[in-house]
Subunit: 346 residues, 2 copies
DNA sequence: ACGGTCTATTAACACGAGTTAGAAACACGT
DNA sequence: ACGTGTTTCTAACTCGTGTTAATAGACCGT
């Protein structure tokens, strides 16, 4: 009966059992040329017998590489995993990991701080997601010498980054509504978080807002003329926000939501209120997540290439890890997907 | 201008700059009681000045813990991430990580081998997913002394494991069809992989097949009487399989699929063929993934508690890591969700 | 038998931390 | 002045690996 809590067997144990030095064991595994084939075979046999496998952490320390990429996330794991956006992003990132033979370490905030999570992660580099307000994360990664890529942020100069042209996307979708004759347009935005007070809008949200403003300006409208509701990004919140908007004295004829999830909730609300889409109201989403094509009516939305974003972020990170010193900054395009949830005003 | 490739600063550098020993630096950070407060402040100041943060890998090696859980996966990352099943599973596992303050390391097969991936992962324990044919993974983890939990497998004795009562689920859904009067039932199964030849059905697939067989037996039918198609688990494959089944001389009146994805494809096929669901054919899924409630008609399916499975697996792993020597084996229940895609034979 | 070349093997170090035992410095009471 | 006790710091070890420089030994030709 081999004890269940047998202490882990190290290369020292193998060396002792085979009657050689520790170095010989290492050579047997890593550098067959430096050792006689007969003793190599003997060492390997003993190693197998004892069930020896090198300790990954020790090897990481010695080699200075971990063979895994880190993703520094802005929310806790359950929230991230519930969000289909990240599923797609991880598909793209996963393609790179697969190609390079790397693992993926998901690093949520530690005690509500992305910064605090950094020093505990054993990775070769970080993809930093949704860092809208930099609380020292960039400086920390920089001086620590860890390669990293910023995604969905306000990228400072000299840092590799990947973003999407949120502004153009928002502009186009609002322009689409204007072209259909809508003027009373309401906006349902996802919550900018507590940082809005101190910093105003940041990152993708700021760009989307700017895009909306830009399109409105072309029609002689201002943001302040429109009702705006900010809620957490769940279906229920979209539902309630939309319902409340329809109770206004002059209810909107079009609803611009900044996320498909909110739009789906809004569609539910209209359904319950007996309001026809797009006959009485037009609704738009953002992201083009799978739900957008499932709901009825199918959702007009702004598609952003999430999988490509993940893949490009991974590629940039790989090249940063390889020591290439360029700092590429790529902005991916959005596409307006017109489906059935928008129509002309009547 | 601080150089960009400044070599990482270690505790030795801090010690030298502060004129103390390395140990003092360590104490300043970890054990304030063992050092004079004045020098502690000085060390911390110097450390901050130099931008020192302890190396996570070195600490892991010394402390013998990594503060991260591993998930040993049966497929490559892109495939995993495309699969909504795993998104839900990771939500449950993420809850545990969040509670315990741990990170999550996704470990796909290395060169097509789960076994080979094990020695490269720096984790405190593994959740092993979908290990249907054990090629030494269990032995490897055991002798390495790494705690682990098996999920969706054929768990051997003395190993913590979490499973779902697939057999009961399959039995009930087939019974439901039998109760509706169906006798010509076809099965679309996901591909059992190349191991079927050598080992036959294994794991959840084996249990689901057994459940089907069991229900059929009650009605005096045998598995061999039914058409069975095995395909990879994608929507397109479900589509083509369903279409082919309808071309048979005596087409089935009910379609049992072993995954919602396949069922959704089958629904598409019936739509294209102009066959009414559930008027002319009944279709059932398995898992109750979000799509099941989105498609029209809404899918009758077997719900398995995926999030709970992830959470229980995480809990078992945590207690195994804590050294508790029980080997719990939990089987979660399924629920038959009857929606609109099944109806009485006519 | 001897110097030389070549090969198999090992001792010693590096990676970067945490930790134990003990030395040095100082205060105190007698 | 001496022993005792306390505080403050450090030398030296640990974790488990990979790698370099040096040693021991075998083999060869003359």
């Amino acid at each position: 009966m081999s004890g269940p809590t047998e202490s882990r067997v190290t290369s020292k144990d193998v060396a002792a059992a085979a009657g050689v030095s520790r170095s010989a064991v290492s050579f047997a595994f890593n550098d067959p040329a430096k050792i006689a084939d007969s003793t190599r075979q003997r060492i390997l046999a003993v190693a197998k017998e004892l069930g020896y496998t090198p300790n990954p952490v020790a090897r990481m320390l010695q080699q200075g590489r971990t063979r895994s990429l880190g993703v520094l996330l802005p929310q806790d794991l359950p929230q991230i995993m519930e969000n289909p956006y990240y599923s797609q992003f991880f598909v793209g990132l996963g393609q790179v990991c697969h190609r390079e033979g790397l693992t993926l370490l998901l690093t949520p905030p530690l005690r509500n701080s992305m910064l605090k999570a950094i020093p505990y992660a054993a990775v070769d580099g970080f993809v930093v997601c949704g860092l809208e307000v930099d609380r020292g994360e960039v400086a920390e990664l920089r001086r620590r010498g860890i390669p990293f890529v910023l995604v969905d942020s306000d990228p400072p100069e000299g840092v590799p980054s990947v973003d999407v042209d949120d502004q153009a996307g928002a502009r186009e979708v609002v322009q689409h509504l204007l072209d259909l004759g809508h003027r009373r347009i309401a906006v349902i935005s996802f919550d900018p978080g507590p940082d809005k007070e101190a910093y105003g809008y940041r990152g993708p949200l700021a760009r989307r807002m700017a895009g909306i403003r830009e399109a409105l300006a072309g029609a002689g409208l201002a943001m302040d003329d429109l009702p705006l509701i900010e809620v957490p990004c769940t279906r229920e919140d979209g539902y309630h926000a939309a319902k409340n908007l329809m109770l206004l004295d002059e209810p909107p004829t079009a609803l611009v939501t900044l996320s498909d999830i909110l739009a789906v909730g809004a569609i539910d609300a209209m359904h319950d209120l007996g309001i026809d889409i797009p006959g009485q109201i037009s609704i738009t989403g953002f992201d083009d997540q799978p739900e957008a094509a499932w709901v009825r009516p199918r959702l007009t939305t702004v598609r952003q290439p999430i999988i490509a974003k993940g893949r490009v972020a991974g590629d940039f990170l790989i090249s940063a890890i390889r020591g290439e010193t360029q700092h590429p900054h790529q902005v991916l395009h959005t596409v307006l997907i017109i489906r059935e949830s928008t129509g002309p005003i009547r």
